[in-house]
Each structure stands twice: as C-alpha cells, then as structure tokens.
Symmetry: C2
Subunit: 334 residues, 2 copies
C-alpha cells in the first residue's frame, strides 16, 4: 500500500478495499460494522438498514441527471439492495464560496423530486462553506435509514452454484456519460446516465419472490467489480456470456474507441441480481414491466469451478478471464 | 440574499438560516424536517433521533483535538442535546489525492477513541478521493442515530420566563484555538479546544431531573448565536450577567487583542441549558461532578420582556444589547 492516498483508493476497487480493511475496519471494528451496502441494526424492535455515501461527481451536471439526483439515488439504491424500504435521508453539503445559489437550488429541487419518487423523506441537513479553491464546486453526503422487509436475506456471500446472474439493464451508461461530459477526448456521442432510484424495482421483484440471493447496485467499478466481489465473498466462479450483456450501441462505440471494458464502467441505476435459475423467468417478467429495467437480461451463471474468478465466454465461444478490477478506473464518477 | 454562496452562509448565523429556509426547507418540506439539532423519527415502535454534520475544519489538527475527534463529538453532541442516547454512526470521507495515509489512520484512531468514550458504534462508511487541489486535505461527514429517552422534551421553543440559563463551562475555547492555529495574527497563547463528547454529561443531568427545557451545544456561532436562536424560537428575552460568563483568561486576552466577543466564538464541548430556576442547584451539582463541566455556571435568566433579544448586564451594572449574530464569524472552525 502506498504511503499517500491515491485516486485508486477512491475508485471502489482493490485499493479501496485495502484502505477500508487496513484503516477503517481495523479501528472501527464492531459486530455491526458492514462490508455490505448498508449496516443492519436492530433498535427497539425495528430492523433498520443504515448507509452513507459521499457524492463528488465532476462535472456536477451531466446528461440524465446532476449531483442532487445522484446523491439520492445512490443512498436509496444501497438501502434497496439490502431489501430495505428507504424511509429517511439526511444530507450534508460542503459548498465552495462563490458557487451560484441558483445551482444549489437546482440540485435541491433534483433531490426533492428524486426523493419523492423513491418515497423517502429528507429530514435532516447540514451546510458548510469552504473558501474558494478549497472544495470543487460542491460535495453532498447523504445518509439513509430503511426498514428491512421481513423474509428477505440478500448478501454478497449468498451466491450458489447453479444460480443465474441477471443485470437489470444496459451497463456502463453513467461512467460513459461522465467521461464524455469532461470533454477530454473530443468524442461526441448520444449517451445519458442511467442514474435512477430503484426501490420501486426492488419492491416489485421482492413482491414476486423473496428467493433472491444477492442484490447489488453496480456503481463505482461497474458490473465487473460487483461480480468479482460476489465471486470472492461467496467462493464461487461466475461465467458470463458476453453476447448477453446489454450494452447501448453508443457506449459500445465509445468503449471501442478508448479501449475500455463496459463491464467496468459505472452504472447508477443498474442492479446485479443472483437468484436460483427456477426464479429467473418470473424475476425477468417483473423487471421488464418496471420503468428502469426493461432491458433486464440473464448474463451468466454461478459455478463451483474457478472460485473467485469471473470468466467471459466470447462471441466465438472462447473462454477468457475478465481481468480483475484494480487501478484508478474513472475517478469522480459518483 | 446574494446570488452566490458566501462564507457567511456556512457560519451558522443569520445567512445560514436564510439559506436553509429559502432553499432546503422550501424543497424538502415534510413533517419530520427538523430545525433542531436532530430529527425525531418513530420507526417500528422506536423513537429515534437522526442528525448529520459535515466537518471541514482547517487546520485538521489543533491543540486539544483533530478533525476525527471533532467529527464524532459534533454528531454525538447533537443527539445528546435531543435527549437521545447515541447508538450508531456512519462516516463518509472525502480525501485529497496525495494526503498521507498515516494521517488518515491518526484521524480514524481519534474517531474510534472518541466513539468508544461516547458509547457509540461506527457501523457504516464511505471513502471518496478527489484530485489534488479539489478538496482541502480531507472532509468527514458523520451521521448519527440515537434512541430518545422517555420523558425528555427539550427544544429551542421551550424556554419560559423565569428559567435560568446555564453554560456547562468556559466559552469560546474551540474558536479561539482554531484562530490561533492558523497563525495569521502572530499571537501565541496557551489555549486548547474544548472539543468533547457530551453524552455522559447529558445522561447524568437527565438522571437528576428531566425538567429541562432546552439543551443546545454551542458550536458554530458560539453561545451568543444559540441564545439568540432560543430567544427567537421561544419568543422570550434573555438577560445575561456578563461577569458570570466563564471565559478562560487566555481566551479573554486574545479576544481583547482582536476585538472579538467570546460569546460568539465556537465551542465544541459546551452546552447551553435552560431550566426552571428551582432545578438549577441540582443541575449545577451534577455538572460540577462531570469531567467536561466542572466550571458550569448560571449566566442569566429568561424574561418575558424584550422578546427575541439578548441583553448583557455589564460589570458596572449598565444594560446593553448583545449585538445579534451575522456576518462571517470564523469560517472553517468545524
């Protein structure tokens, strides 16, 4: 591990995990400390999920959303992945001196609109101002409390050989959108972020069946990083059929030009679901009727062989290991 | 209101209140949205307090503490002021690329130590890294859940004429410490921050009597700002005896040199308590036996006259209005 913080420590991959293990888990160790998307707490008879996320996306405005919408979706989706109905959110702003008030108001309106869609209430807040040049525009940290649905047990440790792997829509749109919004590559493509609040999607799915082993939202590090985490936590292999992975043609085009793997581009409105094969048709049927998962597809299968690895079956039938996540990926995409 | 964010919007005074009213309350309006230190939520039979706070103090290391200790104290104290036992915290870091890992580890250790003292568990976290120059060192946002003690009803709206006003110790030490730590004035004085977790203090006090009307921690804006808020929320006047306000001689000296009012310097380990006069001796007795409130003192009285105002009786017996809070105060003290 380096002696200084690098962008890779914030990219959601291997180095982030090392930082959490070495520094935070080491000091904060307690039975409720979570490695999942949210901690599960039992307080006065209620089972609650509790999660926090900082949003520093650059630029803060992008096609398909802005930092305000993103800050609600991220926390709502982390609660949803634990099978917890999002109830209450707090939000803490750090704003740069000189930042336009009208923009703060625009982001607040985005937050309110997204919270209303997700059925969650923003009940507490904090505002700090840092001097010009001491924070890049504005950062928002949201923290959420959700109520765990009875009978739901999902975790990255619960994938079993024979399970199918489903993604709820085309992958990599958010990461690709941010990449293009930075204008560093001179590429013009029609891509909008998939940023969306997914409680409605999860609720509909759990209304159909509670026999789902893993639900994860593929944010930093994309679907590829999530699959490697599941493979590692559950000690299983994951075999993907590369032709089944839904990728928007524009995203595929940009990835081709820049040599990027769409599976490693961030999503902000996509779920990775691992469930028994017999449940797959009913789950897909529900997902196809929800607004943010009309392109949901089975993309692979969990295997007992090659535990800890993600194997890609290519168009011509060859099998190749998906390179494990690591490195800087794309910083500041969330 | 200006068209851009100014440092005053983050100073905790009038402009902060205007920003909250105009932007956040306007958009986030709902029955649980709080103007107090924490929202009170009823979930599955449990009454919970929920609060968030961003910490951007500059410099992050100062005599008497660091940003890690401060980030736990701030949220623990906000819960405590609602009469809620702090149970669980989340923490979200935004760290500058190139920041020394050893420092991150030092702050994590401070956080763990302070959390242990307060009896609270850190259960969820998030780490983001911003590029060099895009965040000043590191920011920490903590969010807390506490369980409300039965029979406690404290709020800034509950001060009544005849009540006494107590501060739990000498005022302005934290603000003065940060001011000196910036080395902008070439003043050398022996001052350490009062930064401390106060749940033990509040619990001991509520064990003695639950007949307490207001408990507030005097952070941004200091005791003066808190008193003006109480005077306004409760529609009462507050009369202070300036000689009774405990001020450390070094703080008084620095304030004298720089023309500052100690009542407007931030504290991070001081409570303002408003309670019936008959309870004052017992409350002071408890406070004097707790580690962070040995200099607790009655500093004034609530009156029906001059509602909304804080009146200062000077050493020579003259009465003068404490100038209302406003302006930039000291930025980045928390």
């Amino acid at each position: 591990m380096n002696d200084v913080i690098t962008l890779a420590h914030g990219a959601g991959g291997r180095q982030t995990a090392e930082l959490i293990d070495r520094v935070f888990k080491a000091h904060f160790s307690n039975p409720q400390f979570t490695g999942d998307d949210a901690a599960v707490l039992s307080i006065g008879g209620a089972d609650l999920a509790f999660t926090t996320d900082g949003f520093i996306v650059s630029p803060p405005d992008f096609p398909g959303g802005d930092i305000g919408k993103l800050s609600i979706c991220g926390t709502v989706n982390d609660l949803s992945c634990m099978g917890a109905r999002p109830l209450y959110l707090s939000c803490a702003f750090v704003i740069e001196e000189g930042f336009p008030l009208a923009k703060v108001e625009k982001y607040a309106a985005s937050m309110a609109r997204t919270a209303a869609e997700a059925g969650v209430r923003i009940v507490a807040g904090d505002t700090k101002v840092a001097g010009k040049g001491q924070v890049d525009h504005l950062f928002i940290t949201t923290t959420g409390i959700g109520q765990c649905l009875a009978g739901v047990h999902t975790s990255g440790t619960l994938a079993r050989p024979g399970d199918v792997v489903i993604v709820s829509g085309d992958v990599g749109r958010h990461g690709c959108t941010i990449l293009l919004a930075r204008n560093q590559f001179g590429i013009d493509a029609d891509v909008t972020s998939d940023c969306a609040p997914l409680w409605g999607t999860v609720e509909a799915m759990l209304g159909q069946t509670k026999d789902i082993h893993v639900i994860r939202d593929a944010t930093r590090g994309g679907v590829g990083t999530v699959l490697y985490e599941i493979a590692s936590q559950s000690h299983v292999g994951i075999h993907l059929d590369s032709q089944s992975v839904p990728v928007h043609p524009s995203v595929r085009g940009v990835c081709g030009m820049l040599g990027l793997e769409p599976l490693y581009l961030a999503c902000e409105g996509r779920l990775v679901i691992v469930a028994p094969e017999c449940e797959a048709p009913a789950i897909l049927d529900v997902l196809h009727r929800q607004p943010y998962s009309q392109d949901a597809a089975v993309i692979g299968q969990v295997t007992a062989e090659q535990p800890g690895r993600v194997i890609l079956r290519t168009e011509i039938g060859a099998e190749t290991m998906l390179p494990p996540p690591g490195g800087e990926l794309l910083p500041r995409i969330c």
